[in-house]
Assembly symmetry: D3
Homo-oligomer: 248 residues x 6
């Protein structure tokens, strides 16, 4: 069940049985010469929709542009400043709270978003914490999970790509996007086969250190099959984790 | 060609032949008991992707949550405050400008976004206008078009729905979403058949005046066929209009 | 009746019979070599004060600097960024709401303000729409009207200046300022007689395309007499339109 | 010479001989039962225009709504939040700097504005101070003067109103507005004759302590004659002070 | 009694007998070749802690970086923009208000902070003034005092340093820091002995006019003994002034 | 070497040999009935100063109020909203960058700060990433480390407190503060001996779940001796880690 494909009366019904929602959140940023710019939005979106379809959980629209300033040295990357992202997450959250949603599960596809998502949660909570008691703003509970950190997911990724899964433009995330968009599979040799690793600051620094955009990965080993496996495993893990959250 | 489904090297290539991009921009808001909450995002997205597929134009990610505070009285509606939306549009625009895009065509699906989009353009332009000469920030040109206002589109909508096309949750926009998502067609009688018209201020006021969310429309006459016709007509109009913009 | 020239006890009295106010809003921007920088503030101010004098309607202070970033290439132009203007309009509005004003009629003299004014309204409404029910913030109703778009005004302007009324630094608006400040009439030949038309983005772009600041106009035909006629016609139209608003 | 009543070519000429401007800045706030809400805007405006007329100094538009949150308990008062006022003063200042103005003399009519004006100056200066050397932003010099603190002005006010000139809604400022708007003279007995004095925090606190709005004043002694005297004296003092500033 | 060195149960107890707190507020800015960068934070902190120790008054954490953009031309200076400082002071104030503190005494060590502190107070008060009655936010009372302006303090400073106490990097404030940190006494000849005086705008301007950072002062005469005397006198004055405030 | 206790000429000298600085960053929040409100600021401050004293590293002022909205249910807690904290960290960072510092090591004492610190870094980096090449803003490198996560520190803490070290108001952090302020040791029995564990959202939720403020800890076992041991171990680890950073 997708919010975007529901009517308001559908949501009114849904709220009679659940006050929880999953919101995919990603990024629009380079993922090396063979990875799609939308990778970090596509992964959580595809997995969340699978859970939405199979279990009737409501899936919100995808928060598709995130914190990617460090990738701005590569054409196509788009970013929000963290302060903008905090304001936007707050507006999304307060909109849902207005309708009676009390548990927001942000399902994240981009490590670079993690800090700002947590800062946004604190910004939203702070509004209520500053209020005199009793607060008028309804209590919200928010959580954020990176898809690759759900139980058993990383193990599966490492099993599928024992070497060169990497940190950015990973074989696993690229595989998920190939499974989601089979006509977008890229066949290209990358040099070096496994990209260098390291840290980074701003866009200039990132590009100087990671000239083709990858970090520690060999995404050429990504396959549609592996992608489908990862989607299956992660969807199961998401469903289990979300249930716990929704019932907490 | 979609930014989300491109690699950064694809975009690097694209920029050698074009510095223009189409960005669908919509809203996540109630569209009556039979219209989808994502209607205003779906319509420009579907039409833009058609043009992107047929003509190789680059289509950006969809800016999917817009200015919909007046619909917050209906479950599922999500909104940005205008100040947040201005910040986000600015960040998207400056990201694209960084790569050399000089012409941003925002293809809009929600009348309520129009003013804030224009304000955002002025915010972006103002940064450069305030700069001492010569400005360091590259010159940008931005335009925003509502899909139903492209040449010949409204005429076709009125031809298809001579009465009760309406102002919100229109038969035409609902038809487009049914064409895009045929499994989401809703069959339901609405009372009154054609919704009332009028103006509105905030969410409470809107709901009091338009109890089921529609304004002036009878979306029950929406069909997949009509939706496909509208998509065809609008895609042609968009392509023509975009070409003029890209060459200006 | 002007807010600036009233005491607080006057306003206390006024609020017993009306909760509506007219607020002139303009801009401080170049209007070609013969038009005054204050034109867009002067026009709505003069017309509104006429209505205030004749009918006892309360006229607020003039919001005199607006959105004019595109005119910054010409000496004397002043602008707010849209984000600043939204904050300021919100503060003005909430100040008036605090006292019991419920209907704010912003009488606008500058087309470039329109979008940001509407965005500001949505910003103010959104505060209330986000509030849990029942809202504590009082309900406000706001409207914005461009003086030249009131019924019969444009017809009169075209009648007075059948050719070359134009889009910026129009003969009509310059005439109004000459009527208001007869000692400021400028007699100067402009070349070309009717300025070019077109669109614009930032200040550099505007000045490159409209070298003396005018768009499509020949303001040399402006006369005090025409200005007085326009003031008369517009004041009548404003009074009629405001009454409808105040009683809605 | 007033910016509002000048053309851009006038300002272009002016800038060849001077890079300094006077900007009246006031407030829209209650001034007791006999004082005008616009008092603090009217006083600096009238005096500055006198200097502008007599000496050809350029007078900017009046910044008419300032920091008056403490007066919001009285109908008609309007305020900006300090953060909004800082943003607006910055935009005004940077607009003028764009054209080559280097010396901005803010001529203030409201004690409650003083702190925020100084904070706004620091905000503007900070932008340049943070810049790497050499700064691209042109150097600005800004000063703010309260009209009653110019040399010899307070002495004249005390001479005219030896007792009960007061701190808010003073006899002197009310006299200036009566001189400026002779048809607005109010004749009313106030009780007590001289209002109480004290400090205040927010609007509720202010109204509780100063029930009719005045602080320490007996404005019933205000006369048109005294107002004209004060305007004369202050205009001379302003001209002298401005000259020093413009030549510094 | 220091907030930083108290437990929450200590504060719970304190609030049963007092709703007032002293918060030292300073700056991190150059104080000439012999003055410490922390001078303006150290002075109010040391004096406030003395009062806290002697009288059981609660002393908050030191707001240690303030408004010092004009000193950015000298290594080590740190500043907040005024808009940031307003937001921070508001957050500190609303945190304390949440617990029941009603009287906040900001004890200031830097003249350059004064305006922004006052603006911050107005920002906080404005929130409550804008609220519909009855306000939900508790009423707060805030004051700010510069330590050298407390009764009898300046007289003592002038007595100790009859010539060359100065305006920035004063002999008196340097003496206080030497008393507080005896191992930080600097012995160095300064040229000229007494620094020049004047006004300033941004960092470049300041450094050009005051090449070693001092204004009007000869801090080489600062001694530990004088510092201790000033601390004694000021602590007594602070205690007296705070008592009046706490009981108001 | 402390910035606060240095002169600007000292810093000028320091910058000739190093462009790196350590900035302690903490929080002002309840730490249970026996822990000090300043604990999270005291711990990094004490350890950093140790390193500053021993190795001549420059230690910045302590950023003493952080992200603690969830503790606002306990008297004495102070917080910044994340958006304020981002602005403040940006201002601190850009101040230091102005002088030539290129490596900022934020030494953190509060887990709740981590996300917002990272978001602030991205905010600062984004400014430069958005700039056209070549960027004018100097390149900065920033890192943030939690003191308890430095190599070997947690092992030592667990060795000292094998059970009940906990997550908030830990025995280890309380021990550090007792070592730093021996006169602040609290002897009090806590019930239950080891506090419950769990997650939290806003202040109301936190207090409901952790009634005395502790999470998972038994801080009654904290001793001055253990504190000194932890300070020793952590100072060594900090020095090693900082050296790597400063040379990177
Ligand atoms: Ni990724
Ligand atoms: Ni729609
Ligand atoms: Ni105009
Ligand atoms: Ni006044
Ligand atoms: Ni000082
Ligand atoms: Ni802690």
């Amino acid at each position: 069940m997708q919010l975007s494909l529901s009517t308001w009366t559908d949501i009114e019904q849904y709220l009679k049985t659940s006050d929880a929602i999953i919101i995919p959140i990603g990024s629009m940023e380079q993922h090396g010469p063979t990875g799609l710019i939308g990778t970090d939005a596509i992964c959580p979106e595809v997995i969340a929709k699978r859970v939405g379809d199979e279990h009737g959980v409501l899936i919100g629209p995808t928060f598709n542009v995130g914190c990617a300033q460090h990738h701005l040295g590569f054409p196509g990357t788009m970013t929000l400043r963290p302060s903008t992202m905090i304001a936007a997450i707050a507006d999304w959250s307060l909109s849902l709270a207005k309708h009676g949603f009390k548990k927001l599960y942000w399902f994240n596809g981009h490590g670079g978003n993690t800090a700002t998502i947590q800062a946004a949660f604190a910004e939203v909570y702070a509004q209520r914490s500053f209020e005199p008691s009793p607060a008028r703003q309804p209590a919200l509970r928010m959580t954020s999970k990176n898809w690759w950190e759900l139980p058993s997911v990383m193990a599966k990724c490492k099993e599928l790509h024992p070497s060169g899964d990497g940190m950015h433009a990973t074989a696993s995330e690229v595989a998920v996007t190939y499974a989601a968009y089979p006509d977008q599979v890229r066949n290209q040799t990358l040099e070096p086969k496994i990209a260098p690793i390291g840290s980074f600051t701003d866009a200039e620094h990132y590009r100087a250190n990671f000239p083709d955009g990858r970090i520690g990965s060999d995404p050429t080993q990504a396959t549609i099959e592996a992608g489908n496996t990862i989607i299956d495993v992660t969807a199961q893990a998401l469903w289990a984790d979300f249930q716990k959250f929704a019932q907490s």
